[in-house]
Structure formats: C-alpha cells, structure tokens
Amino acid sequence: MVVIGGGQSGLATSRCLSDRSIDHVVLERGTVAHSWKTERWDSLRLLTPNWMSRLPGYGYVGDDPDGFMDMPEVIAFIEGFAETLSAPVFTGTTVTSVSAVDDGYAVVTDAGGWICRAVVLASGACNVASVPALAEALPSGIHTLTPLEYRNVEQLDDGGVLVVGASATGLQLADEIRRSGREVTVSVGNHVRMPRTYRDKDIQWWMDASGLLDERHDEVDDVTRARNVPSPQLIGSPDHRMLDLNALTAAGVEIRGRLGTVRDGTAMFSGGLRNQCNLADLKMNRLLDTIDDWAREAGFAEPVVPERHAPTRVDDVPMTLDLTDGSIRTIVWATGFRPDYSWLHVDVLDHKGRVRHTGGITTAPGMYLIGTTFLRRRKSSFIAGAGDDAAELTDHLSHFLAGGLAPTP
C-alpha cells in the first residue's frame, strides 16, 4: 500500500504499518518534512511546547521541554523520526494522479507508478493559501503575498501593511511586521483568543492534562464546526508571551472588522468587529472555566485570584480604508489554507474539494486521510496527534486488508 506524504502524519502512519508488518511505501514530493522546510516563515516556532512533540516511539529529548521548536529544530526532529523507520521513503516523488482500479488504487507519480489496495492521504492540510475572491478587485500598486510566500520583513515595501486574518498566522505576522516599524492594520473576523500560559503552566498543558486535546470527533457536539475553528491566537516564543488583539493594539497596530469587499479602491470592513471580539472573549473565558472545573476535581488548590484577561479593546474604528492613497503598500492574506487534491480522482471529495471522511476513514474502501484539523480528536493537527490517529487508522486498515469486518470508526 501507499502513504502519500512524508511529514509527521505520513511517517507516523508508516511506523504503525511497519509495526503491523504491512508492506508499504511512503511517497514524498520533496524531502522529509518538505512543507516545514519550504513553506514556513523564518521566525515561526511551534505553537506547542517541546515536551508535546512526540511521535510513535520517539519524543523530544532536549534540555528545554517547555520551549518551542523553531523550524530547523522541527525539521531535525522529524528527520530524526524518519531515521527510525524501516519502510522505504521515496523522496523527490510527486504524485500526479490517484484513481480507483479493480480492487484498489493506481498511484501515478513523476517517478513511476504503484497499484495498491490501500492509500493513506497524508499530503497535508495547508498546501494552498486561501485568498478571498475580492483580491481581484484590489487597485494596482498593492503588493500581495500569502503566508506560504512570506519569509521575513525584508520582502516588504517600507509602506503600510494590511494583514487580513486574525488567527495564529495573522497575529504573528502583524506582530512581526509592526516590530519592523511599519504601520500595520489587521482585519479581524472569527477568531480564537487564548492565553499562552494559565495558572503557571502552558495552556497546552492544561488542554492535554484535562483531556480536551483527546476529545474525539464522535464526542463533540458538531464536528464540522470544530474542524472549521481557526487556529488559536498563540505564538511560541522564548518569553512565553501572550499574543492577542490587545497586545497588538498596545503595539500600535490598527484593528478593523472582517474585510467585506473592495469597491472603487476602498477596502470596506464589517461593523461586526465588536461582536467577533466579544465572542472570542466569552469563549476564552469558557475554556478557562472548563480548565478550572477540571483542576478543582483533580485536586489543584484554588487560585487566590481568578486569572482572567481584560476584554478585547474595540474602539469605534473606521470601516473603510483607502487603498489608493499609498498608505497601504502590502496586503498579507492570512485567510487560511486548504489542501490540494487536484491529483485525486477518486469519488471522495465534497463540493468544496474536501475529503469526505469519518475520523479519517473515507467513503472509498481502503482510502484513509490523516493530518487534518480535528480528524479524530482535537489534537489531530498537532505533531503530538499524529501517533494516536495513525495507530487507530492502521488498525482499521489492517482489518480492511485482511478482508475482515472493520471496527467502527
């Protein structure tokens, strides 16, 4: 069988397949951890602390368990894991087509083809930066770039920058660009506010310990909504600082509502900013309440003073921005990512081009998906989530290959 993608998810799957003595190959378009090497900005660090970086039979062994890996460290970590694997990883092998054939799938690459009974799609959830259609209405003279293209501020004109999007990516880039001295405006839609630390521990420690990260796809009220939640406004930095809209406002960044349209050279923002921020404040406090409830039951001493943050500051801000007067020179589209399945010719895609699946088990027998947001549990898109998902999916896959009754998803 074939695993498509040599990132943490594909490699973890390979490890679990090998543990079950299932013959397979891993196909990787570049080299191991390709996206981490080629599609990340220079200053990026993981949003999860080092101690959480664990893959099957492999984990962080350095002397800074509470730190956050930078990209060279992530790459070294995944390459180190790859060295523990026994299955062949075909690097420099780009899959150009996957289609259904009798009793399996035909996988065509630029370096030969495979016929296999099962395929695991581990090609990543962030292959393409989503750019809204309104980008076509931008006046000339505005430079645009996506987070996949952004490396550092040296790429930017000295003028003002509009960052569209307020998830982890948008806020980190706005923060970095503002620190370079440029005028920065951030357009804010639906977002998730989250403190970096809470009650003297990393927020991810609480999420992990309380079981929130292990919450399963079939346990949550609405998994579609859970899969669409934007990445929390976190940054992994040596000083463990909190990055939220208030921090950006204090640094001189201008906050605007969701970008609604561009008309006659003017960007028009939503007047619903206050509610977006209010929702994020309420949700953050609910998360902290949930953590407090768990801590109480787990026997932690009650904090003397409840640790809560000031509401997001929203002033009466303008709802239009002139894009023709030279004040904005660059727009960064931090408006999310989507996978690229242009090579996938199997009837598993929905009308939005997403793979239809239940916990990674697609509607096509023998085809599996791994490494996407909330695939099987809240941590599925984390490095730490790859192992559990890979173990369960290879369990299902092995039953499928044996022709037996597969366990339910």
């Binding site: 639906n190 349209t261 028009m268 939503s270 007047g271 509610n275 929702l279 309420l282 609910r286 009466d316």
Partner: protein, 186 residues
C-alpha cells in the same frame, strides 16, 4: 401523559432546523434562496409594500398569506406619517432577526426564555440625506441594540446567547457589511 426529553420550550423546532442544516450541507444548491419584496408609490413619500412569494429549496415558495407594509415619513419632514420610515423598518428587521436568533439559540442551548425585549437606536446625521454636507453619510453613523432578557440562565450565558444570535443573524450581516446592489429601470 407524556414526558418530554427537553422541558425547555421557546416554541422553536430546533430538531427541524438541525435536520435542514444537515440536508442543505449535502445539497448546497437547495440552500440558494431569493427573498422578494414589491413596493408601490402611493403619494408623496408614502409607499405600500408587500411580500408573498420567495424562492428556496429549489422551488417557488409562498408565505401563508400576503404581508403588507406602509412606509412614510413623519410630519416633521412635511410628510403625512402614514407608516414607519424605511429606516425604522431596517431597525425592525434587525431587531426581529436578532430576537428570532435569541429564541433559536436559547432552545438549542436548553435555556428557557420568559421574556425578551430588544430596544434599538440608530443614530443618523440627516445632513447626509438632505444633501447639506457631502461628507456626512446617508445611513446610520451607528446602531445600538439593548436586550432585556428574563430567562433561566446566568449573565454569562445570556451574553453568549446574544453574541451567538448576532453571529448567525442575516440582517446583522446585511447591516454590518457591504452588499452589492443593482438597480435598473424600465
């Protein structure tokens, strides 16, 4: 005597709404709706509007009855005051949309409502519509909505209820965001 699963009853059929959401997620073409209104000039600033038919779920649909509305301007504007101003009708639309949302979200979250009252204020500098000052916008400079809700819920739950209602409101979106409008004439 029957025992219901949910003692909360705000008169909203949440199960049907969730079913519709599931079904329309599978068949996005059926989710394409067209809302319609007709308006006839009566006299002066007085007009008479009606709504009846609309399109949705892939077919022509109709209200149970034809609903009619008069709009006019008050005597302060040298009009006859035969109805609410169009501006007030926008506030009515926003208020009723948010209120319907409050009831629906409350039902979904198991919150029993006893009373919900929304009070809306739309601020406007009429120098805009009168053409006195071209720098003044015609429309609202801002809209304030105040909810008084009596319900079995904590203040935080009520705040979340009202926030979620805004998030899912069509008219909130319509008022808060730009919309392209095409007008033609015979």
């Amino acid at each position: 005597m029957t025992v219901t699963d949910s003692p909360v009853d705000n008169g909203v059929n949440v199960a049907a709404l969730l079913e519709a959401r599931e079904a329309l997620g599978q068949a996005p073409e059926a989710a394409q709706f067209e809302w319609r209104a007709e308006c006839e000039w009566v006299n002066g600033t007085h007009s008479h509007s009606s709504v009846e038919g609309y399109f949705g779920l892939g077919a022509e649909q109709s209200h149970k009855t034809r609903f009619e509305y008069d709009a006019d301007h008050p005597e302060l504007f040298a009009s006859e005051d035969n109805g609410a101003t169009p501006i007030e009708l926008v506030l009515v639309g926003l208020a009723s949309c948010l209120t319907a949302g409050v009831a629906s979200v409350a039902q979904h979250r198991g919150i029993q409502l006893r009373s919900v009252k929304a009070t809306l204020k739309g601020k406007m500098d009429v120098q805009g519509v009168l053409g006195v000052d071209p720098e003044v916008r015609n429309g609202f400079s801002g809209v304030g909505v105040h909810f008084d809700i009596d319900a079995d819920a904590t203040p935080a739950e009520l705040e979340a209820l009202v926030a979620q209602s805004q998030k899912r409101s069509a008219v909130f979106d319509i008022v808060a965001n730009p919309t392209n409008i095409a007008v033609d004439v015979n």
